[in-house]
């Protein structure tokens, strides 16, 4: 039994060590990383700078009858949603109301070497209008990349309820469309009429795919196939989902923008983080002794996991974001604190060490569960309903809470049980409780 507990301790410590190592070095060859480490963290625009682009609306039919200010405001909102979907939460998009232009600031991607801002911005500024169009009889065998819009529209993006990137049976990435009732009707009519003919699917005036109708389609689902990579499929699905821009936007000027803060700011934040970490560890060890030491290990794993999530989800981290990680060092020991206080109480009531640890964890569990569930609820709602920085905050809060919950109730528990199997750990002083002469126990310090 004792061996089993020691074995578990060994395993947990090994896992934590691996996670920490992974967070520091990452995994995989340089050009095809499997796991990204701390050095590949995408830092925000305030730390590393980025690009600032001026986008001008292009009206093919002239601005007559159009409310330009309103178009820009809704374009701003859609572009914000498109960037949110890419995990870029720290952009700023503002309308220059003097010249009727959009100014978009976005951070550099992590370790960007061949980034082509023009291309990225052209994509961002494309209207993203989706249409399904009939194909001229003469073009029935033309390669789909050569097809031009015919203007005989079968379906538009308006008929689509939602879109997502999925893999089909053959393992290729496709875009799954769910149609609105209006779309189902139109599509069913069109596929009946155009049987054995092609329907071309356009994003603006680029043909993505032009499948041949094999049979009448009456269901609410349709797929777009093409030779998409996962990123392409996702980007297209996002564009369809967030709707079309009211007008095309053209990048008229692209500047690189400096970090708003001096280069030293990141170093300062990292130093503050390391110091906070050390101080919290000292506090935990001094106050809780042996359990405190256990929580230090759990904390290492926790911070490493958080870094892994941020770097692998490509979430750009701003300086306040780093502040949030540092804050979580202090807040996430909470679960451990609740447990250790309970264990102390149990020990003081005269129980044996092993029984105290078991019942301490058991009784603290409900409190930790309830308090974490309330935070998780907040995080999920912020992610679903929020946008921009609020949404980014939801992501970090969710993972921070989830990890700290498991590190407290699982990792700390196994480690503490494992440590208590050793003979030296029988000393209650190591748990912050001392035995006085009368055999009664009282709190140390």
């Amino acid at each position: 039994m004792n061996d089993n507990r020691t074995f578990k301790l060994f395993i947990i410590v090994l896992i934590i060590a691996c996670i920490c190592l992974l967070a520091i070095t990452g995994l995989g060859p340089e050009n095809a990383r499997i796991v990204k480490g701390v050095n590949e963290l995408r830092t925000g625009i305030d730390i590393r700078g980025g690009i600032s682009a001026i986008m001008q609306p292009v009206y093919d039919q002239g601005t007559e009858g159009r409310n330009v200010a309103q178009d820009l405001a809704s374009a701003r909102q859609i572009i914000e949603a498109r960037l949110d979907a890419q995990g870029i939460y720290d952009k700023t998009i503002t309308v220059d109301s003097t010249n009727n232009r959009l100014i978009i600031d976005i951070p550099w991607a992590a370790n960007e070497t061949e980034f082509n801002p023009r291309k990225a911005l052209d994509e961002l500024g494309s209207t993203g209008a989706l249409t399904f169009q009939e194909v001229d009889d003469a073009d029935q065998y033309t390669d789909h990349t050569q097809l031009k819009p015919t203007g005989r529209i079968v379906l538009t993006g308006e008929d689509v309820k939602t879109a997502s990137a999925v893999t089909d049976q053959t393992g290729n990435y496709v875009i799954l469309l769910e149609l609105k009732p209006s779309g189902v009707e139109k599509f069913s009519e069109a596929t009946a009429r155009l049987k054995y003919k092609r329907i071309a699917i356009f994003m603006d005036d680029i043909c993505l795919s032009a499948p041949t109708v094999q049979d009448r389609i009456t269901s609410s689902e349709a797929t777009i196939t093409g030779r998409f990579t996962l990123e392409e499929a996702k980007a297209l699905a996002d564009k369809i989902r967030f709707g079309a821009l009211p007008t095309k936007l053209e990048a008229v000027k692209v500047d690189s923008i400096s970090a708003q803060l001096g280069k030293g700011a990141l170093d300062v934040a990292v130093k503050a983080g390391i110091l906070s970490f050390i101080l919290v560890c000292i506090f935990m060890v001094l106050y809780y002794r042996l359990p405190g030491l256990v929580s230090v290990f759990a904390l290492c794993g926790l911070v490493a996991l958080q870094i892994l999530v941020l770097s692998n989800f490509n979430i750009s981290v701003t300086l306040p974001g780093i502040g949030g990680i540092i804050l979580s060092i202090g807040m996430s020991v909470d679960g451990n604190v609740i447990i250790f206080e309970r264990i102390k109480e149990e020990l003081k009531s005269g129980k044996t060490l092993r029984a105290s640890i078991d019942s301490g964890f058991k009784r603290a569990y409900v409190a930790i569960l309830d308090s974490n569930v309330t935070t998780i609820i907040t995080a999920i709602i912020l992610y679903i309903l929020g946008s921009g920085p609020v949404r980014g905050f939801g992501v970090t809060l969710f993972f921070g809470t989830l990890f700290s919950f498991f590190s407290a109730v699982t990792a700390s528990k196994m480690m503490l049980q494992g440590v208590s199997a050793f003979g030296f750990a029988k000393n209650k002083w190591l748990f912050g409780v001392k035995k006085d002469k009368g055999g009664k126990t009282s709190e140390a310090l």
């Binding site: 405001a73 503002t94 003097t98 400096s258 306040p320 020991v333 609740i338 409900v366």
Partner: protein
């Protein structure tokens, strides 16, 4: 050692909080709300530079000169005339509902020209007005998200703490949350700090922290209600607060270690975003713990007692 009676002394805590909010309300009328450029929009000035300019320093100087919130940065464009040269511009964003007055513009130009190598007469310089970077819809969605999550927390707490009367316990927890958010707003108003996106993030953090804290104490009350059936409710609340006190204090301590470290580092290195972040967290975390101990549980007891009295009548 006599233990502090949280229940008996609750009227002082309630009185203190009410007095504090009256003070905040007066200050709100006196000071008004200061919004940062991210909420308010303002004026963007572009001035060509001909040498090294520290944007952080420039922003500070302008802020002092015209008493408006400023964010400055440097943009670089490759010169069309020669491939290797770049055109560097100092970009100054000044928060304000009204466009800059000519006097203010002059002040900005003077202070920049005095301190940095810039070309005031460049034809590339321009002034434009910009809209808020955090649009109204972002703000509205953020507020909606907070309200929806509060309703869900209310339901969850009411369900999990049915032994505490469910809804009354949940409502008191939410009141404590509003208390914390109110105090954070209040402090910002009193010190005339500009509200920005960082402030939103810290409010959200504090909501998470405060509800955690309250739930842990509620958990103790729930447990003790079962264990100490014969005991008076007031005593149960007192004992429960005391039992969870060392946890509340220790978690506050570890959290404060981090916040204070950040605050000291950011103030001494003049990093305003981190300074704003840690300062409002400092306020929020302290009020979060205060509201748990002195407001949520004693208020819940007050509610229960009133209800029982009403039943007796």
């Amino acid at each position: 050692m006599r233990r502090y009676d949280f229940v008996k002394n609750r009227k002082y805590a309630f009185g203190f909080s009410i007095a504090m909010f009256v003070f905040f309300a007066i200050m709100l009328i006196v000071n008004g709300i200061t919004l940062d450029i991210s909420f308010k929009g303002g004026t963007r000035m572009m001035i060509e530079t001909v040498g090294e300019v520290d944007p952080n320093k420039a922003g500070e100087l302008i802020e002092q000169a015209i008493n408006k919130k400023v964010i400055a940065s440097i943009t670089k464009t490759y010169d069309a005339a020669s491939a290797s040269a770049t055109i560097d511009m100092l970009r100054i964003d000044i928060a304000g509902n009204e466009p800059l007055t000519p006097e203010e513009e002059e002040q900005v130009k003077t202070i920049i020209a005095q301190n940095f190598p810039v070309k005031l007469e460049s034809e590339k310089n321009e002034n434009v007005s910009i809209t808020p970077t955090i649009g109204r819809e972002t703000l509205q969605r953020g507020i909606l998200a907070v309200i929806v999550s509060m309703v869900l927390i209310l339901l969850y707490v009411a369900w999990r703490f049915s032994t505490l009367g469910g809804f009354s316990a949940a409502a008191c927890a939410i009141i404590a949350l509003f208390h914390d958010v109110g105090v954070m707003f209040g402090v910002y108003i009193v010190f005339k700090l500009p509200l920005n996106d960082i402030f939103i993030a810290t409010i959200l953090t504090v909501i998470g922290y405060s509800i955690n804290d309250t739930v842990v104490v509620y958990d103790r009350i729930r447990e003790n209600t079962v264990l100490m059936k014969k005991t008076d409710q007031g005593d149960i609340v007192n004992v429960s607060i005391h039992q969870s006190l060392s946890r509340s204090i220790n978690t506050l301590a570890t959290t404060l270690i981090c916040i204070v470290t950040l605050l000291i580092y950011s103030v001494s290195n003049n990093i305003s975003s981190l300074r704003d972040f840690s300062f409002s967290l400092l306020i929020g975390v302290i009020t979060g713990v205060y509201s748990t101990i002195f407001i949520a549980s004693p208020l819940w007891l007050f509610w229960k007692e009133r209800k029982q009295k009403a039943l007796v009548k």
